[in-house]
Symmetry: C2
Subunit: 343 residues, 2 copies
């Protein structure tokens, strides 16, 4: 039976014959077991086991109109995929959360215009039931485009439209502002008084909201929070190094640094070392993400943990809800302060 050949697999018809019922009954059993007597159910169950039957998803999809699959769509320029460990965590989490529902994840990359066109054609043709959209930059036109075409879409991170407002697209995100507030409060509690920040790009929610959190806490504490204490990076390690060097030059008396990502924070640490500042003695450093970069060197980073495991499972939950006809919703998840050596 378990020969090495790839023979015609058993169909619902084989199961029905084996169980002594009609194909309709087998199908009903397969789809929730409504209107199937216990006796018939037992017979079908046994027949499925004996025949090794597995549903032909193509035949099912042809009639239901659903594909029972979901796309994980990456709209970053491709290098980002490698620099940002969060993508990996998210991808793994989504794959496994979907697997629990027996739904395969199709990985799609839309970095170039040609790729975007292909993806839009593929998705709008109904080849997937919905899209998990991942991009750290927010003005992303694909979310809107797909949503308009009636495709269920859930974005990772808060999507911002052209006018700077949160777009009306289902999304799951960490609470960037509150997370930033937590760590800046921690820096203040350490007695630091000149707290500068390396912010992310202004067209990303992380760039906007983490900066806002920094500003708020400093204002509440009566500490300076002027633009001279702000430098921007693009989340890359090297941009963090450059931004920190710039800040050190501009405000040499800085005694703490809130850096909007761990990777940038590692770059900032390099700049501090080059400048002969000890961490945390001279300058305390706080990061954001709790990514592998946080512990990839010394000192280990005090940072803000993003709940990526929950983000992925929530994204899948919301997407399956959308596919099932529910209304779009936004989920904002709490972060957690992780104290290590750098602050």
């Amino acid at each position: 039976m378990s020969g090495s050949e790839r023979r015609r697999p058993p169909t619902i018809h084989d199961v029905a014959r084996e169980a002594g019922v009609s194909r309709g009954t087998v199908s009903r059993f397969l789809n929730g077991g409504h209107n199937v007597s216990p006796g018939a159910a037992d017979a079908v169950r046994a027949a499925i086991r004996r025949t090794g039957y597995v549903v032909n998803r193509h035949a099912r999809s042809l009639i239901t109109g659903r594909s029972d699959s979901v796309a994980f769509l990456l709209t970053e320029p491709q290098e980002k995929l490698f620099e940002d460990p969060n993508f990996n965590v998210l991808l793994r989490g989504c794959t496994q959360a979907l697997a629990a529902h027996d739904i395969p994840l199709l990985l799609m990359i839309a970095g170039t215009p040609a790729e975007r066109r292909r993806v839009v054609r593929y998705v709008t043709a109904g080849h997937v039931d919905g899209v998990l959209l991942v991009s750290s930059h927010t003005g992303d036109p694909m979310a809107e485009q797909l949503t308009k075409a009636g495709i269920p879409v859930v974005a990772s991170g808060k999507p911002i439209d052209r006018s700077g407002r949160t777009a009306r697209i289902a999304h799951v995100a960490a609470d960037d502002r509150e997370g930033a507030r937590d760590i800046v409060r921690h820096l203040v509690s350490l007695g630091r008084r000149r707290i500068a920040t390396v912010a992310g790009p202004p067209d990303t929610p992380g760039g906007v909201d983490r900066l806002a959190g920094w500003r708020e806490v400093l204002a509440e504490a009566g500490l300076p929070a002027g633009d001279d204490l702000v430098a921007h990076g693009d989340y890359s390690r090297d941009s963090g190094r450059r931004a920190a060097a710039e800040l050190l030059e501009r405000t040499p008396d800085v005694d703490a640094l809130f850096v909007a990502s761990d990777l940038m924070a590692r770059g900032a640490l390099a700049a501090l070392e080059r400048a002969g500042r000890r961490v945390p003695d001279d300058v305390a450093v706080g990061g954001f993400d709790d990514s592998p970069a946080a512990v990839a060197g010394l000192p280990e980073l005090t940072t803000v943990r993003q709940p990526w495991d929950r983000i992925s499972s929530e994204m899948v939950r919301v997407l399956l809800g959308l596919i099932g006809g529910q209304e779009p919703s936004a989920v904002i998840l709490p972060t957690e302060l992780v104290r290590r050596q750098s602050a």
Copy 2:
């Protein structure tokens, strides 16, 4: 026409009516255009454009028996996915190479026994046409299991069976031995005479073949290559640190280190720094992979570049060949020595 509703998409029937031909003719046009007159082809082409027709892949698959999709199967324990940047490069490369053929990539993770069972059931049910198998450890039973079930499988890296021989499974790999020979030759040419190595796990081709390359070149050069100059790691950064520390203790006069992965080499550099050895002055260090870790700190690593971009495209090429009925083949790709600061 491009309304915001998700209406019944046009079928081959709509196209046929629009073009004034039969559905058979449209189908023939779609599948290579054999036996379709130029006039009919033009009419169909125009009708497809007007209607916005896209093939229903489920209907097609139901009849052809092919799914026109491929699985990318990761059998690592999940943490590996994050530690090894090669997975990312491979994943991206395969996704894009397949996209060029309009074939979606299904990402599957089989780290636990339960996940493995689910994947085997899914794949052997014919839900994908073939599998790109990725695991650095080689005794992987899934390759054999899937191949036996008649599923086209291409492995990344040379698969080794239980008895230590190369398994008869199609695979694509870098030339580990020749790559190791190149960089060890380079260390010798630098005048180094006590060249130790941090090898990978003995159940991985990288662990076996890179070690063999190291041994051969030293033997050819009349230099010592005894077991006291070998320590093993598991490809993690920390294991590299430990192995290097052990070697320094065992053979303090070592003047060069060939480390079988860049990540382990970064760990080794930390051990050398702690021991007060300057790199490359006191100890030259050569890595393997040319991964992001190679340039993620100072000194930048002299290393061996694995052609991951070609590996992914070759994997896809071989897999599509298998699916098309060709015989399994092995592809071994040349590596490249990359000189930087560490040696």
